[in-house]
Symmetry: C3
Subunit: 324 residues, 3 copies
């Protein structure tokens, strides 16, 4: 999303219409979305929360990149709000036939699919789509290249808020392949909006981000320094194919020792630090399995929150649609 | 479908039971289906039309050829009528295991799937299935080789009827790979039933059809001549692999210049001619992008009509089933 | 499933919680499940049976091995009980990313998927999952290596019960690749629990099973001897790649002559013997097409019963959940 695209996300009444990026959203809006998401949480084993706020509407899940968990999360979120959800694996059909993304979108639009959930490996694709759809259509970014994954940012924010009192006095450490991580980007944006005390980004120098993409964050290459007194430790997934192959990226053992969150380096964080991971995990590479399964891990909580924040966003968009 | 198979499509009370081909259907029946389809149209942005005419019934979408748009269209049509829709990608599983088509059909039949929507690359497959299913099962052809695509023919007919007054005084020009086009076949059949004034089929000689397959149509290889004073211009998708490879089929630039519908040759058509395409489009090959997106294009309208005619057909079949 | 895992399948009140294997279940429980399944049968052409016993619940179909028919059967069973069914083709996404099975399960659990239907090529996977899920989650085995396929066993049992009076005076012959057949295992277990009169397992010596896996069965390599006076003849699917390649397994023609159920050897069975096959069939290899389609075949009946027994099992698990 270009700097001047922030306004793209709102309709003329100032209501959230698309969710492409968290950038430019207010702390007030994020807080409302998290509050709404809390309303969609029920106990494990209880029936999941449902309402009919999207009854009669159709959601198209357009995943140009494969995904099990994010797609399932959006699928369940939409169905639990009463929507018809159309899952389209666009790799396997239209693109093979050479159809352009916009033609796919126009086709779905013409079928009364009025919420498009889009995952794409291309930078700028969700905003591009949002700029071209008809007035009645909303676009949700479900993962865009290394740029943005806003519902992941929201679920991370909700998870942190559930466990830690105040963003302003908090230290959050994100560890791993920061450079290629849309998860780190959206989490950082969300945390900065909420006025996070300190945000540290820890990675091997070869995977360090462009500092301009993470304004206000401290970029660190030593994990002990990075985790010191952290309240929140978020490990990122690393693409296995990058390990040991990318210039300056160590092999698995060395990566795990120096940039995997493990029982040795977690000691530097606060004793009550929570441990996060967006999944799917490479246990023994970016995170030690015992920590992922341990008492401080909030990783499955993140998944639960993911459905809830997606319901909150979808519900809000449904209300905006109903108000027209 | 063999000539003597027309009756296959009706039950003993004369009600439509299968939709394999438009051949042999009456203008009265087509008109009723289009009228019913009109009832399923709502404004863009409004909730799509729904009813419960298939509540409790199960539709099986059996796509032996990949498809995004037609499958999505049938999927939404079925769900908006209250049916359970089972999407089966039959390539990937049973056929790998060597199961015959009929055994797949018998299996679904035994699971109470009583409407089978079938797309297959094989000539005659939908009729073959229709001849073998139990009395309570209906078969809808969703695209059969180069032979038939009846719901496409209906949606094309509806789109034309919405824009032009009278089929009898109308000139329709279909341009492209006529020889391999089930879309052209079904559109031609539909138009002939409605007594179309003049039907012209324009293609390079190498892609011209067997005239016996298009009785009453005029076969032309010059696009200027073919489009002259046309009320309706329908461009067909060409398989990219045929261009420049098939004997006598020109390369992309020459194809576009001579058989692509573009701003130069569209001048030959009437000033208010509508422009159609079944999708997915190869922009810059069989159609100029600016025309596809321009004011005379009814291409997204075709998509909207596609859901509506499928709902009309499904609803009619549901009523036939309820009457038993 | 290990010998001491029988108790794994029940909750502390003795209610069925997981269905991993039929081993250790009582004749009383099997009878109740079959009786419940009978209640879900309706005539062909009538609307399928439905209730809302799983309304609000979410079922995850986790097929790590491809399957059309079993997945469709569980999908329809779940939907006809009012559940949301999430179909996950786990091959194509998470496993590619190196996610462990348990992490996939934990993820779904966290999304309030509380019934997991699992098919896997690995021995012990369903029990392994059942031992690791949270208290509120149930696991149904939908096909496990060559070990177990309990809902198939139940549908076979129901089909036999519908056609034959009394298990105690019955001779059942199972023919084919017994060694690799989870279908044979679960059918045998079900029949032994019901006190079957005589159970014969017929195969080429190279495909004969370990006798310890089939206690009480008679292992035979001559089909005439094996089918003699049988009341029930069940042909098993053979993997085509095993024929003529596995040491001691004859080529197709010889296999069909000696181990295919055909019009010559069926004469040895009782005149009113029923003929079964789990599907998908290799006609002309393990079964003669004319027999599969003939009056004694109950093969499509098995498919219908499959949906019904899955509904019965799911309904029972839903009741167990509601009682918590």
């Amino acid at each position: 999303m270009e700097p001047d695209d922030t306004t793209l996300q709102f309709d003329k009444h100032g209501n959230l219409r698309h969710l492409i990026s968290l950038r430019g959203l207010t702390a007030e809006l994020l807080t409302e979305l998290l509050d709404d998401a809390e309303g969609y949480l029920t106990e494990a084993g209880a029936l999941p929360a449902r309402d009919e706020s999207l009854a009669g509407r159709t959601i198209g899940n357009l995943f140009f990149e494969p995904s099990t968990r994010t797609r399932a999360s959006f699928d369940l979120a939409g169905r639990r709000l009463g929507a018809d959800v159309l899952n389209l694996d666009v790799n396997t059909s239209s693109r093979k036939k050479g159809e352009s993304i916009l033609d796919t979108i126009y086709t779905l639009e013409a079928m009364h699919v009025d919420i498009m959930v889009v995952r794409d490996a291309g930078d700028g694709v969700p905003a591009y789509i949002a700029r071209h759809v008809k007035d009645h259509v909303s676009v949700l970014n479900a993962g865009e290249s290394d740029v943005s994954h806003p519902t992941q940012g929201l679920l991370d924010l909700l998870t942190i808020r559930q466990h830690k009192a105040d963003f302003r006095n908090m230290t959050v450490a994100i560890v791993g392949d920061i450079q290629h991580s849309r998860v780190a980007r959206s989490a950082s944006e969300a945390l900065q909006i909420m006025g996070v005390g300190e945000l540290r980004l820890i990675s091997p120098p070869a995977l360090a981000p462009d500092p301009e993409r993470f304004p206000g964050a401290r970029i660190v290459d030593n994990i002990a320094e990075g985790l010191k007194d952290a309240d929140v430790v978020m490990a990122l997934r690393i693409q296995r194919e990058r390990i040991g192959n990318l210039d300056g990226v160590p092999g698995i053992d060395e990566y795990y020792a120096n940039y995997g969150v493990n029982h040795e380096n977690i000691k530097y964080a606060k004793a009550n630090a929570i441990i996060m991971h967006p999944g799917p995990m490479n246990r023994g590479i970016e995170i030690e399995g015992a920590l992922a399964d341990g008492p401080r891990s909030v990783i499955t909580r993140q998944v639960t929150n993911g459905v809830a924040v997606r319901m909150a966003v979808l519900n809000r968009i449904g209300k905006m649609m109903d108000a027209r």
